[in-house]
Structures are given as structure tokens and as C-alpha cells.
């Protein structure tokens, strides 16, 4: 089998789960976990085996072409891990439908990351919005959040679709992802660039396109947010590297100043707002804005080590934000709230839950020895070398602020005297613990030796050659 099989597997699993009886939570979760684990297990073997069938020849050539590049391989792996953990952890009402939607989400994002054709990429881009939308409608608190998510991201998807069509007409083919010999010429090209950039900036998101995110992240159930924040937020960044940087480097150069500015603004804006939020999930949401802003800066720094660090930090951020949202989901399930003003002292009776939240928190604040730190330091060494000294300084300020808001979040939930108002609930179950453990293990592993991920971007197309430290001046 090949990459197409990998994409179809979760969809098939979703259909199978919908055929189960409505109220059989255990069976749905067992089947869902099995499918997600199978996807994870088959990723190394199937993801890199390409599949291609000609789809269009006019007005431009397009193909159902799937197959991992070294870059997307790590994102596919991240997606498979996060999905398996989230589905295994899922303990929501109407679990059958929820888990089926989770599998649809995994399948559509697998299609996105494995797509080698821009049109297929755009197709899956829109497809991956739907499961999140339906979960927000069915399980969220306000329908408005769902509509805001859909309309905001769909307008980005529309821009992406138009840009893709124009790309195809100009170049003659959209079957280009992973190729290094594509150069666009023509008066449309700035508009194509704008279309891609808008879609990617909204999806990431980057200031000022972020206002759909905090509501989405605090409304949706923990397991869904774990995958959306952990992996879906990487779609835009992946697009920046695999499409904009690869095919439109001149325009990316031209607008690098603007993007660096937006990235730097996101770093500080997200950090300052996270400092005073009352909802733990919103703190993590705004911290994502801050962290993803750093990755945008890293991509447009045009420096090999910064790019290598960006890929590593994408994976690291996926792992720790998944861990954080899963753990906060467990907190919310137990206490019925994620508001810091109501939570207090859970750590005394829930040491394992406290530990689970702690490791995510530590990775998020960039503790040396965990993957987040490795990504940050690689990015910042590169960004400093590219001459963006003031952005380096802003990013360092962001790290100090991160330690303040992340610890505030962790301590207000877990530390302090036990609150008499909160119900006493049992500590983490073995199932919940097992859902967080792989994420924690990966964070430690990649924190100690991230060699494999750091070298992934060196196989990228020009102008980004090998990831290594610049020679001495």
C-alpha cells in the first residue's frame, strides 16, 4: 500500500464507527484508537510510498498525488501521535460521533500534509475545517464560535483555492509540492502570493488574524483542541515552507519585513494577553499565538538553522499544546471549569494529573532539556545570524513572559490550599495517563536529541540548502 491508503484509513474507520450502535462508547473508543494506532504504525511504511493518478490536464495539469516529503513526514507522524492520544483520551458525551469526527479530522489533515498537488492540498484544506465545525456545533458552548471558526478559515480557504487555480494556469501544473524547479512569472504572481499568505496567516494564526482562535480553543472539547492546536495550526506554517518559500521566495523576501513584524508582534501580543487571562485554555491559546509567531519569524529569516529549528519547534509545539489541552480537558471534566478564579489546589489529591499538566507546561515555557527549548534555541541562533537582532531580543522577552504566564496557569490550578468548593475527584486513570505519556516521552526524546527532525528541512528545495551553523566570519 501507499500514501493514499494512509489517507483513506481514518475515513474508513470513521464510517465503520458510525455503523456502531449510538451509545456504545467503549466500542467506539476502542475501534477509534485501533484505527489511529494502525495509522501511526503504518506511517513509516506507507507515508513515503507515493501514489499518483492524473486528474486534470486542462486548464492545468493536476493529479491525485500523495506522498511524504522529509518535512511533511514529521508532521504526519505528529498528527498520527496526537490523534491516537486524543482519541484514546476522549471521554465526551455522544462519544461515537465525536470519535468519528476525530478520525475525519485526522484523515483530512493526512490528505493535506501528504498532498503533492496544490489543488489536492486546497481541497483537503477546506475539508479539514468541517469536522472541527461540526464538533464545535455539537459539543461546544456557543454556535457563534463554530461559525466564526468556519467563516474565518473558509475565507482563507477560498483565497487559497483562487491562488491555487491561478498558480495552475500560470505554471501549467499544480503537481508541484516537493519540487525545486518551479518559478512563477507574471503580473498575477503578487496576488497569488497574497492569497496563499492570507490563508496561511489566518490558519496559523498570526496577529491580527487570530480572533477566531481563543474562542475555538476554549469552547471545543479538550481532545479536539489538542489536535486542532497541536497539528491543524501547523497547516499554515507548513504551507509557508512547502509552498510560499519553495515557489515564491522572491515575494516572501519582499514581504519578509512585514511578516517578521507580524510574527514579532504576535510573540509579544500573545504573551502579554496570556499573562492576565482567567481561563486556563485561553492562556494556552494566546501562548500559541506567541509561539507560532516565533515560527513565522524563523521561516522568513531565510537561514537554514532557523528553518530547521522552525520544523523542530512545529513538532514540539504540537506535542506540548496537545499535552496541555488534554490535561486541561481532564481538569475540566473533573471540576466542570477551566477558570483560574475557581480552580485551586488540585495537585494535592491529583498528583498524576498535576504531573501531566506540569510536563506540558514546562515544555511550553521552554525548559532546557525538552523539545521546545531545542526548537527555540535553534531558531534563535539562526534568527540572530540572519541579522534580526531586535527580533531575537523580542523572542527572548517572550520566553521570560512565557515562564510567568505558564507558571501562573499551572500553579493556580494545581497549587495552593485545597478548595472546599471543588468536588474531590479521583486522580488520572491509567487510560488518561497512557494518553499523555507518549507526548511526554516524545518531548523528552526530541529535547535530548532532535537530530532527525533538525535535518528534515535540509532536504527542502532551494533556496534553503543544508541546515547547519554558518561558517565563522
Amino acid at each position: 500500500m501507499n500514501a493514499l491508503g494512509l489517507v483513506l484509513l481514518p475515513f474508513a474507520g470513521a464510517v465503520a464507527i458510525w455503523l456502531l450502535p449510538r451509545d456504545n462508547r467503549t466500542a467506539a473508543r476502542a475501534l477509534g484508537t485501533l484505527v489511529a494506532l494502525a495509522t501511526l504504525a503504518l506511517t513509516p511504511a506507507w507515508a513515503t510510498r507515493a501514489f499518483s493518478v492524473r486528474w486534470l490536464s486542462r486548464p492545468f495539469a493536476a493529479a491525485f498525488h500523495f506522498g511524504a516529503t522529509p518535512l511533511s513526514y514529521w508532521l504526519v507522524l505528529l498528527l498520527a501521535v496526537c490523534s491516537a492520544c486524543a482519541i484514546f483520551a476522549a471521554n465526551v458525551p455522544r462519544a461515537r460521533d465525536f470519535i468519528a469526527w476525530m478520525l475525519v479530522l485526522e484523515g483530512s489533515m493526512l490528505g493535506l500534509f501528504l498532498a503533492r498537488d496544490l489543488l489536492v492540498f486546497a481541497l483537503f484544506w477546506d475539508l479539514m475545517l468541517l469536522p472541527v465545525f461540526f464538533v464545535l456545533i455539537g459539543w461546544g458552548r456557543h454556535h457563534g464560535t463554530a461559525w466564526r471558526y468556519l467563516i474565518y478559515n473558509f475565507s482563507g480557504g477560498l483565497a487559497l483555492l483562487f491562488a491555487t487555480a491561478a498558480f495552475g494556469v500560470l505554471d501549467g501544473s499544480t503537481d508541484v509540492i516537493g519540487r525545486g524547479d518551479v518559478h512563477l512569472i507574471g503580473s498575477w504572481v503578487p496576488w497569488i502570493f497574497a492569497g496563499f499568505a492570507f490563508a496561511f496567516l489566518v490558519k496559523t494564526p498570526v496577529f491580527p488574524f487570530h480572533t477566531w482562535m481563543p474562542a475555538t480553543y476554549s469552547d471545543a472539547p479538550g481532545p479536539m483542541v489538542a489536535v486542532v492546536s497541536g497539528v491543524q495550526s501547523k497547516a499554515g506554517l507548513y504551507g509557508f515552507i512547502a509552498i510560499t518559500l519553495a515557489f515564491l521566495p522572491d515575494y516572501l523576501h519582499q514581504y519578509a519585513g512585514l511578516l517578521v513584524g507580524l510574527g514579532a508582534l504576535s510573540i509579544l501580543y500573545g504573551a502579554f494577553v496570556a499573562l492576565v487571562q482567567n481561563d486556563a485554555k485561553r492562556i494556552v491559546a494566546y501562548s500559541s499565538l506567541s509561539h507560532l509567531g516565533l515560527i513565522v519569524v524563523a521561516i522568513v529569516a531565510f537561514q537554514p538553522l532557523a528553518l530547521a529549528g522552525a520544523v523542530l519547534y512545529m513538532v514540539a509545539h504540537g506535542l506540548f499544546s496537545a499535552a496541555l489541552f488534554l490535561a486541561l480537558g481532564f481538569v475540566e471534566e473533573r471540576e466542570g471549569t477551566s477558570l483560574l478564579s475557581r480552580l485551586r489546589g488540585l495537585g494535592r489529591d491529583n498528583p498524576r494529573l498535576s504531573g501531566a499538566l506540569c510536563i506540558g507546561a514546562l515544555a511550553a515555557l521552554g525548559l532546557p532539556g525538552l523539545a521546545g527549548f531545542a526548537g527555540e534555541i535553534a531558531i534563535l541562533i539562526g534568527v540572530y545570524q540572519s541579522g534580526l537582532v531586535w527580533v531575537t531580543a523580542i523572542a527572548l522577552a517572550g520566553i521570560v513572559l512565557a515562564s510567568a504566564y505558564v507558571l501562573r496557569m499551572f500553579q493556580d490550578v494545581m497549587n495552593g490550599p485545597v478548595s472546599p468548593d471543588l468536588p474531590v475527584r479521583p486522580d488520572l486513570t491509567w487510560r488518561e495517563g497512557l494518553a499523555i505519556a507518549p507526548l511526554a516521552a516524545a518531548l523528552i526524546l526530541l529535547g535530548v536529541n532532535p537530530h532527525a527532525v533538525l535535518t528534515a528541512s535540509s532536504a527542502q528545495s532551494p533556496p534553503v540548502a543544508t541546515a547547519a551553523i554558518e561558517p565563522p566570519r
Binding site: L56, V273, L275, I381, Q385, R408
Partner: protein, 641 residues
């Protein structure tokens, strides 16, 4: 890519003992953490045993750490590589060997002590997991052969310190102290990160060997920037002005933690960093002046604040800050062997003092206020002997360990051409003698002023480590006796080649010693007259209350550092966050988005109509629309061949 130098300090090879001494405490931590509930009280013995093995491995590594083969000093073990230039390994040379011996040796004694001190705590195993983890982190810091490895250790000791300060996390004061310590230390981490960026940009490697080999080529400005940024890290970790405010608050942690982390080992990491980077500091006179001055200012400020404390642990905390000021002053000006010597003696006498104070606190049911002590000499004679030895050693009474090392630092400031720092160091020595003897007199002399009826005497696990520590507290300084022929100088021969004296001072070493001794004697004398005489003891309770009420505000508020940091950084950040989060984000940014959405009429109508119900149906319409759009491109006439 140009080839890198790959200059190493130390002989390349595989050193199982080195790996063992480094990883055993990590294994202990993992075991204590994982099997805590099953281990119960055995966790303490397990952690102590692992650390004992680690100490034994360190001692056995002595020949490897001091070997000198073909110009390479010590042992170098390669570990892994992230990318070319980002290589990680372990380096055991005399400097890191010394630190490793203290970390594992003193650490072992403090672990043993903790078995008694923490007895009955509900999180006994967790405590030992954290303690063993701290030792692992500290060893990572001092054994790394590169700046990022050092930074990893640097961050992990900060984490261990955070966990242990906030060990009793149901106390809001402990939680706040832990967060403050962590955030201030991240400021330091970020300083070191910035230094790493400059170093990599100029050298293309993070290895100490590569960097020191390339350092003669750095410009003055670059060198000063690197040293200055590294010192931000050193200042945060070693509680130097203005990043010191976390240390007094850190006394919220259990007393053995204060002894191990916030006195003997972690807080001296800044001293280690500067001694390690001796080739950089020696080449930058500006950095030497900056660091020497801040060290001196910290020594003086800590001593002044030590005079007006009543909490026995806070007295010791400020004295720690002051003594590290001495060490930083020493290594800062270039007297590396002096600063490092003071680290060694301080590790023993300050551990001794903290553990001694722990005996008292444990016996008096967690009483820490010296005003509610007094007369303990007869009740706790062993604690008195232990504390008195420590006090005599820290004051620099001849023959005791502190005398030898402090003398080296003080004379070193003159030898490296800083007479002003010499003056501050001498004055501080006098103040130190005053406030340490004040503590001793108020605690042990006169009548008991507290209300604990039964003094709860500690068991052997607590007494034994204190008894053992008395030996080096008195005697370790003799290693430094004898100038160039002393064991100390021979141990570090070749390590601090760049630390040779630059000037011949106007006054001899013998004369400076007499000056210091005179000042110290004056300090002890004043303390005796105020607190030690029979008349002073007679009306002690009333007198001490009066004294506490008349502390000058500038000292009572610790020179207002907390207030200034709070006003400049904490409140402004929170204010900005509140403005952005509550005003800008919902009204301006999102407001603009909503305006755009509504002014596009169809979108507005769409939003309104969807609020009427039948949500899924409408969603389907939207999806269908998207599908039609895609289908148009896919199925446009002639699209298929």
C-alpha cells in the same frame, strides 16, 4: 561549511565512571518518583544510596579528571550531536571535578540529614526524587563541555529549585516564592542564550574548547557583550544585585533544600561559569570591573541586610548572598583560585550553618524567629558547637576554613588592581562578623524566650552529617595554606593560566591579613557588647522588640529592590496585558474583523440567517458551495482529455 576546530579540553575517551557519576542520581530520581508510594520511607535511603555511589564514582574519577596528556587536561567523553557544531559531551577537569565532589559529597550528607528532617512528611518520596534530580541537573551543569549543555543544566537546576522551594505547595507563600525564583532565573537563562547566539555567530561552535581557542580573535565589544550577557545568567543564579530578590524568599523551602541548593551548590553556579570562562573574562578588563563591582556591591548589601533580620534562615540567606558576592568579586577580577577556594570552604561552613539551624528549627517545632529562641546552648549543646564552628569559619577567624579562602579573595582584589573593591571587602568582613555573632548570641545565650516546652532532639541521621561537616568546616582551608606549594595551587596548576596577578600591591599579604583581622575583631566585639554580655541578656525580650521596631526603612524594605522590580516590570506587564486582552483584542482587532465581515453584505446575511436554527442544513449548503467551486475547475468543459 568550513571545518570546525573541535578543540577539546580533556583527553577524548570513554569513561564509564564519569557516565555513572552523572546518571546515577537521575536513576535514583526516576525510581523515587515512579515507585514513591511503594517505597515509602525506603525512598530516602534509596536516593541517599544512589548519591553515595555517585560520590564514590566521583572520587574514583579523580585520576581521570586530573590527568594531563599532551596538553589536554582531564577527561572528555563525547555524547551526541544535534548538528555539526552543536555537539554535546562531558568534561571532567580539575574545576568540574571540584564542583562534582562538593555536589555529590555535601549532597550525600544533606540527603542523609533529610531522612531525619523530612520524616513523616506526606510527600517524603517526592522530596527525594526532587533532591536526586537536582544533583543530576547540577552535575549536568558542571560536567558539560559546551554552552548549551551548561544551559540545559542551568535550566534544570532552576526547575529543581522551583520544585523544592514550592515543595509545600499548599502554602501560598511557598508557591509565590517558587514562581518568583523561577521567573527571575529565566531572565538569567535568557542572558546566557543571548551570549550563545553571539558566540555561535562568531565561532560556529558551542564547545568550550572551540570558543576559548577562538576568543583571542574577538573584538573588545564582542567580548564584553558575551561576558556581560553570561553574567546576567550568573547574577540571576548566584543572587547578585539586582537579580537577588528571589533568594531570601526561597527560604520557604525545607531547610535541607536551603543548605544544598540555596547555599552550598546551585547558587555558586555563577562562580563556576565565570571560572570556566576565565579565558573570556581575563581578556575583558571592562567585564572584570563590572563583575567585580557587582560582586562587591552584593557582598556589602547582603551583609547590611543580614544585620536586621530576625528569621534565622533569612539571616543565613543574606549571608549566602554576601559570601557569593565575595566569590563573584574574586573570580570577577581574575583571582579565580581565590573565588573558587571560597566556594569550597563556603560549601562546607554554610551547609553546616543551615543544617545546624535545621536542628534548632526541627527541635523547636518549626520556630525560625531568633527573638523566640535564646539560651539554647544548654538545651542543645551539639547544635551550639555546630553553629559556633560555622560562625567562626564564616567570619574568617584564623585557622578555620573561611580565613584562608576569604583572605585569598581580599588580597586578590589588590593583586588585580582594584583597591576600592578591597576596601568594600574589608568592611564587609567586619559586618559579617557582627551579624553572624549577633545570630549566635541571640540564639544560644541568655534565657529561652520561646514557648516550646519540650525540645525535640533530632536522631542520628541528622546529627551525623552535621558532625562530619565540622571537620572540613574547620580544616579544609589548610589545603590552601602555603602559597604556590599548597595542594590547592598544585591541583589547579594550568587551569587558571590567565589568572596571574597583574600588579604588585603596595601592602603585603601579611598586612592585609592583620587589617582584616582587626576589622573582624571589632565586629565580633560590637556584637558581644550588644547581645553577648550578661546585662544585654537580662532585658533581651524588650530590647529586641525595640530594636526590631527601629530598623531603618531602607533596610527593612531591602533597599526597595522588590518594589522597584514590581513597579517597573510586573505591574506594567500586567497593565499592558489587561489593556490588550480586555480592550484591544475584543474591540479593536476583533471589531475590525466583524466590521469587515458585516460590510460584506452576503457574509452578514449568512451569519444572521444561520442563527435561525437548522444549522447543519445550512452548513451543508456552504460545503456544497465549496464543492461546486472545486467541481467547476475539475469538470469545466474540456477539462478531461
Amino acid at each position: 561549511m568550513t571545518p570546525l576546530h573541535h578543540a577539546t579540553l580533556g583527553v577524548d575517551g570513554t569513561y564509564p565512571l564519569l557516565l555513572g557519576l552523572w546518571l546515577l542520581p537521575l536513576l535514583g530520581a526516576v525510581l523515587c518518583w515512579t515507585f514513591g508510594p511503594q517505597l515509602k520511607a525506603a525512598a530516602g535511603w534509596l536516593a541517599t544510596g544512589f548519591l553515595g555511589c555517585s560520590f564514590a564514582a566521583t572520587v574514583l574519577s579523580w585520576p581521570a579528571g586530573t590527568q594531563l596528556i599532551g596538553g589536554a587536561h582531564g577527561a572528555h567523553q563525547a555524547l551526541l550531536s544535534w548538528l555539526p557544531g552543536l555537539d554535546f559531551g562531558l568534561l571532567l577537569d580539575p574545576l568540574s571535578l571540584l564542583w562534582a565532589l562538593v555536589i555529590t559529597g555535601v549532597g550525600f550528607l544533606i540527603h542523609l540529614y533529610s531522612i531525619g528532617y523530612m520524616h513523616g512528611d506526606r510527600a517524603f518520596a517526592r522530596f527525594f526524587a526532587y533532591m536526586n534530580f537536582f544533583v543530576f541537573a547540577m552535575l549536568t551543569l558542571v560536567l558539560s563541555d559546551n554552552f548549551i549543555g551548561l544551559l540545559v543544566g542551568w535550566g534544570l537546576v532552576g526547575l529543581a529549585s522551583y520544585f523544592l522551594i514550592g515543595f509545600w505547595f499548599e502554602r501560598p507563600s511557598a508557591v509565590a516564592a517558587a514562581r518568583k525564583a523561577f521567573v527571575l532565573n529565566v531572565v538569567g537563562d535568557v542572558g546566557i542564550m543571548a551570549a550563545v547566539f553571539i558566540i555561535v555567530a562568531h565561532v560556529g561552535s558551542i564547545g568550550f574548547g572551540d570558543v576559548f581557542a577562538a576568543s583571542p580573535g574577538f573584538g573588545t565589544g564582542v567580548l564584553f557583550a558575551i561576558c556581560g550577557l553570561l553574567f546576567v545568567g550568573a547574577a540571576a543564579k548566584s543572587a547578585q544585585i539586582p537579580l537577588h530578590t528571589w533568594l531570601p524568599d526561597a527560604m520557604e523551602g525545607p531547610t535541607p533544600v536551603s543548605a544544598l541548593i540555596h547555599a552550598a551548590t546551585m547558587v555558586t553556579a555563577g562562580v563556576y561559569l565565570i571560572a570556566r570562562c576565565a579565558p573570556l573574562w581575563s581578556a575583558s578588563p571592562n567585564a572584570q570591573l563590572l563583575v567585580g563591582s557587582i560582586g562587591a556591591a552584593t557582598a556589602l548589601a547582603g551583609a547590611l541586610l543580614g544585620m536586621v533580620q530576625w528569621d534565622i534562615k533569612r539571616i543565613l540567606a543574606y549571608s549566602t548572598m554576601s559570601q557569593i558576592g565575595y566569590m563573584i568579586m574574586g573570580v570577577g577580577v581574575g583571582a579565580y583560585d581565590g573565588g573558587v577556594a571560597h566556594f569550597l570552604t563556603h560549601a562546607f561552613f554554610k551547609a553546616q550553618l543551615f543544617l545546624g539551624s535545621g536542628l534548632i528549627i526541627h527541635a523547636l517545632a518549626n520556630e525560625q524567629d531568633v527573638r523566640r529562641m535564646g539560651g539554647l546552648r544548654s538545651k542543645m549543646p551539639f547544635a551550639f558547637v555546630a553553629m559556633a564552628t560555622g560562625v567562626v569559619a564564616i567570619c574568617g577567624v584564623p585557622g578555620f576554613s573561611g580565613y584562608f579562602s576569604k583572605d585569598r579573595v581580599i588580597y586578590g582584589t589588590l593583586e588585580h588592581g582594584h583597591p576600592w573593591l578591597f576596601g568594600v571587602a574589608v568592611v564587609t568582613a567586619g559586618i559579617t562578623a557582627y551579624y553572624m555573632f549577633r545570630m549566635l548570641f541571640v540564639t544560644f545565650m541568655g534565657e529561652y524566650r520561646g514557648d516550646v516546652d519540650h525540645v525535640h532532639l533530632p536522631d542520628w541521621t541528622m546529627n551525623l552529617p552535621v558532625g562530619i561537616l565540622i571537620v572540613p568546616t574547620i580544616g579544609i582551608g589548610w589545603l590552601m595554606f602555603g602559597g604556590d606549594a599548597s595542594p590547592w595551587n598544585r591541583f589547579f596548576a594550568g587551569q587558571f593560566a590567565s589568572g596571574a596577578p597583574v600588579t604588585q600591591p603596595a601592602i603585603s599579604e601579611g598586612l592585609t591579613t592583620w587589617i582584616v583581622l582587626a576589622v573582624v575583631a571589632a565586629g565580633i566585639g560590637i556584637a558581644y557588647l550588644r547581645y553577648g554580655t550578661a546585662t544585654a541578656s537580662a532585658d533581651a525580650p524588650a530590647r529586641l522588640e525595640r530594636e526590631a521596631a527601629s530598623v531603618p526603612p531602607v533596610l527593612a524594605n531591602a533597599f526597595y529592590f522588590d518594589a522597584i522590580i514590581d513597579a517597573l516590570f510586573v505591574r506594567t506587564s500586567q497593565g499592558l496585558g489587561r489593556f490588550l486582552g480586555q480592550t484591544a483584542d475584543p474591540l479593536l482587532v476583533d471589531g475590525a474583523v466583524r466590521e469587515t465581515a458585516l460590510s460584506a453584505g452576503w457574509l452578514g446575511a449568512l451569519t444572521r440567517s444561520f442563527q435561525t436554527g437548522l444549522v447543519r442544513a445550512y452548513a451543508l449548503v456552504l460545503v456544497a458551495g465549496a464543492a461546486c467551486l472545486i467541481a467547476y475547475y475539475a469538470l469545466a468543459p474540456g477539462a478531461f482529455r
